[in-house]
């Protein structure tokens, strides 16, 4: 009897979507709770103790997050999330540096939608944007990237680790290419921060976007790293009361920021061990699936990759049918953003996958609370569903035990 059989009918689905979002770590929730209630002050109300208590908490969180990426606390600006940070970095750098005759942005064709959409909005304003294609393993060719960067480039924006295929780009080399031409280097670190070692000094980052809910912190909060020496100058996206050294106005959400700080501190302590554990779990999952599904295809480079990410194609099976057949698994085809639509991923097409094989692909995300038992359930459930779908039985429902109900 497989481990899968132990799971009852009311067991919550096995969560395999850690790149869409992560559960808030209970230690993060615990740290946040007092700031929702008795410690409710506005951190900008420095004339009384409630406000000062809130401000102290914000500054502690700022230091925790700075520590995780090797920055100074004052280089951290809190935002509402990585989407806002990416909008702020891309539009803000373009707008600020236009006055110096730099009117071009360089980014990858496989960036997250919020970077691509920000870049397209800039195009509509008259900026030039170069979308560099990636190689078949998802990594950018440095020669190709170097040719795109000119002395008119204000910003090079390349994500650290990909949200669908998990590949980690050569950030240090990219920073050097950007700096050679006097451009700023921004990285969308939403998926990578807290998962792999990232040191802003070592890499040479000027700007980096950080998400709360991708690192076991809360949703609705994120940050942007803004280098101070030499200063990465950008135009703010949201003006107002002048908070965050005028870079981002708005009352700071103290509980969320405390949660982000705590999540960063936990990640810093546990990242190395967690990565080893996830690599082992991922190997178990991949080997188990390969043994059961011989024509399985892995998308994206496996060496330079987030430990908690897999992206697999199941030839001959539609991903939508596979998801429908596995209600016991929380699965996705790719980016969660686009309003719950299930359609082939642009990224996979950019890797050169045909429409049909791209439409047969799933993203499997593992994380802090994943277990070996869950991997076994996933192997059993997916393999049974694939077998049944291939034998033409259609997308019926496969229970966690592998039978059809």
């Amino acid at each position: 009897m497989s481990a899968a059989m132990i799971r009852g009918a009311n067991t919550p689905p096995v969560y395999l979507d850690y790149q869409a979002t992560t559960p808030c770590d209970p230690r993060v929730v615990e740290a946040m709770l007092p700031f929702f209630t008795e410690k409710f002050g506005n951190p900008h109300s420095l004339t009384h103790s409630y406000g000062r208590e809130a401000e102290d908490a914000v500054e502690q969180a700022r230091a925790q997050l700075a520590d995780l990426i090797g920055a100074e606390p004052r280089e951290i600006v809190f935002t509402s999330g990585a989407t806002e940070s990416n909008n702020m970095a891309v539009k803000g750098a373009a707008h600020f540096h236009r006055q110096f005759g730099r009117d071009q942005i360089v980014t990858l064709a496989t960036e997250h939608k919020c970077v691509l959409e920000s870049a397209r909005a800039l195009e509509a304003e008259g900026f030039r944007v170069t979308f560099v294609q990636v190689e078949r393993d998802g990594l950018v060719d440095l020669g190709r990237l170097a040719r795109a960067i000119t002395d008119k480039t204000s910003l090079v924006s390349v994500m650290a680790a990909h949200n669908e295929i998990g590949v980690i780009q050569p950030l240090k080399d990219i920073a050097a290419l950007a700096h050679q031409k006097g451009a700023l280097f921004h990285s969308d670190g939403a998926q990578a921060v807290g998962k792999i070692d990232l040191d802003v000094e070592d890499i040479g980052l000027d700007l980096m976007s950080i998400s709360g809910h991708k690192i076991y912190g809360p949703k609705g909060v994120g940050a942007i790293y803004l280098r101070r020496r030499p200063r990465a100058r950008i135009t703010p996206l949201i003006d107002g009361g002048g908070q965050e050294r005028t870079m981002r106005s708005g009352t700071l959400p103290v509980p969320l920021i405390v949660g982000l700080g705590k999540a960063a501190a936990i990640a810093q302590t546990e990242m190395a061990g967690e990565a080893q554990r996830l690599l082992a779990l991922r190997a178990r999952l991949l080997n188990g699936l390969k043994a059961r599904i011989p024509d399985l295809v892995v998308n994206g480079n496996m060496d330079k990759r987030l430990p908690g990410n897999l992206n697999l194609s199941f030839p001959g099976v539609k991903a939508v049918d596979l998801i429908a057949s596995c209600p016991g698994l929380a699965l996705s085809t790719g980016s969660a953003c686009t309003a719950a639509e299930v359609e082939p991923s642009n990224v996979l097409k950019a890797l050169g996958l045909g429409e049909e094989i791209a439409a047969s692909s799933l993203r499997l995300g593992l994380g802090r609370f994943s277990t070996a038992t869950e991997m076994d359930v996933a192997i059993e459930t997916l393999a049974s569903a694939v077998r049944r779908l291939k034998s033409g039985q259609g997308p019926g429902v496969t229970s966690a035990s592998g039978g059809t109900t």
């Binding site: 979507d17 004339t47 959400p253 969320l256 996705s332 953003c337």
Partner: protein
């Protein structure tokens, strides 16, 4: 709060309502990304849509008119950037989050009581035929003065312009209806009405399409990208439902505010109450103790456990001259001595007593040292 303290800075931020806390604790346990197709994603989507209906009910609109943002500042920034081709007209007493996002905007002056001058608005609209976006707040955060929004909106529409209302400070303190006020856009903030910090909303008239400030995954019908702040949004929804049910309680808040005002005026008959003759929010009192700088008053009150502010809480705690009082024509000698006392639904008579006592003691000391 300890027995000896009195939190009277509710216009800066309010404590979280119990219903909001309960809703957030429930949703902190949900893991899903509301855009994911699987079960946990769908559950996240369901609670967000429930909250959207609760926020909509507070403003008297349909749920699909509510766009969630990261707060009031972002809502205001989005509104003012929503129509890049329109010229901007704003009142002289708007919050910093409107002022700073509308550089170069024409300014509607206000009366001595801090109320927007509609005749001046009309001439601003008439003298320049280019399409405009006009922004006027529902109630001022420093003085509490309620603005003639409905009349302003009618004028604005008669001139083919678009109307935005910052209702952040008014929401939850007085009843209003987005349609009756004839607004096109309206900003709300959760933490001013008992919800959490870090969430707010922009309400759009039916069918109104805007240029989004934050682009990306297409959430919020393309009006505002970013993974939804699930606990924040559910807390906001629950707070709105409780605020709507609790509007009647503001009659008692108004009595306590009036009591505070009467007692302080008794102590110092030469004290100046701003916007005293305008319709005001029931919870706000902006008062100047002549000859004593606001920072001195705020610190002395803080030592006595009474928390008030010298104007708005933004701008890094600095006490600087209020642009609101300046626009009302208050001389600097008055405005630099103005403090803001703002009450909330748990404020009680004992807290007002502590304010009166501490303020009275400071006033006596200032008289003694002046003598």
């Amino acid at each position: 709060m300890t027995d000896a303290s009195a939190y009277l800075d509710w216009n800066a931020t309010s404590p979280l309502r119990p219903a909001a806390r309960a809703a957030m604790e429930r949703s902190l346990g949900l893991c899903g990304n509301a855009s994911s197709v699987h079960r946990s994603g769908r559950e996240a989507r369901r609670v967000i849509e429930q909250a959207r209906a609760q926020v909509a009910a507070l403003a008297g609109v349909a749920p699909e008119q509510v766009v969630f943002t990261s707060g009031g500042t972002e809502a205001n920034a989005t509104a003012l950037a929503a129509f890049p081709d329109r010229r901007l007209i704003i009142s002289a007493i708007e919050h910093d989050s409107v002022l700073a996002n509308a550089p170069g905007a024409a300014r509607i002056p206000v009366t001595r009581d801090g109320v927007a001058d509609l005749a001046a608005l009309e001439s601003l609209l008439a003298q320049d035929k280019r399409p405009a976006l006009v922004s006027l707040m529902l109630a001022n955060n420093e003085t509490g003065a309620i603005q003639p929004v409905e009349q302003a909106a009618r004028l604005v529409h008669a001139h083919g312009a678009i109307f935005h209302c910052d209702a952040i400070q008014a929401a939850g303190k007085l009843a209003f209806d987005f349609r009756d006020l004839d607004c096109d856009l309206m900003s709300l903030s959760a933490h001013k009405l008992g919800g959490p910090q870090g969430v707010g909303a922009l309400i759009l008239a039916r069918g109104l399409e805007i240029a989004p400030l934050i682009r990306g995954g297409g959430q919020e019908r393309g009006h505002r990208a970013g993974t939804e702040n699930l606990p924040g949004i559910t807390g906001f929804g629950a707070a709105c439902a409780e605020a709507l049910a609790g509007l009647a309680a503001y009659r008692r808040v108004a009595e306590l505010r009036d009591l505070a005002q009467a007692r302080l005026k008794e102590i110092a008959p030469n004290a100046v109450v701003f916007a005293a003759d305008a319709p005001r929010l029931p919870n706000t009192l902006c008062i100047a103790m002549p000859g004593v700088p606001a920072s001195t008053q705020v610190m002395a009150l803080d030592l006595a456990g009474v928390m008030v502010s010298a104007g708005s809480a933004c701008s890094s705690g600095k006490v600087r001259r209020s642009h609101v009082l300046e626009a009302m024509g208050a001389p600097e000698s008055q405005s630099e001595c103005a403090i803001r006392v703002s009450l909330g639904w748990t404020t009680n008579e004992a807290e007002i007593g502590r304010l009166v006592e501490a303020w009275g003691a400071l006033y006596a000391r200032s008289r003694a040292s002046a003598a």
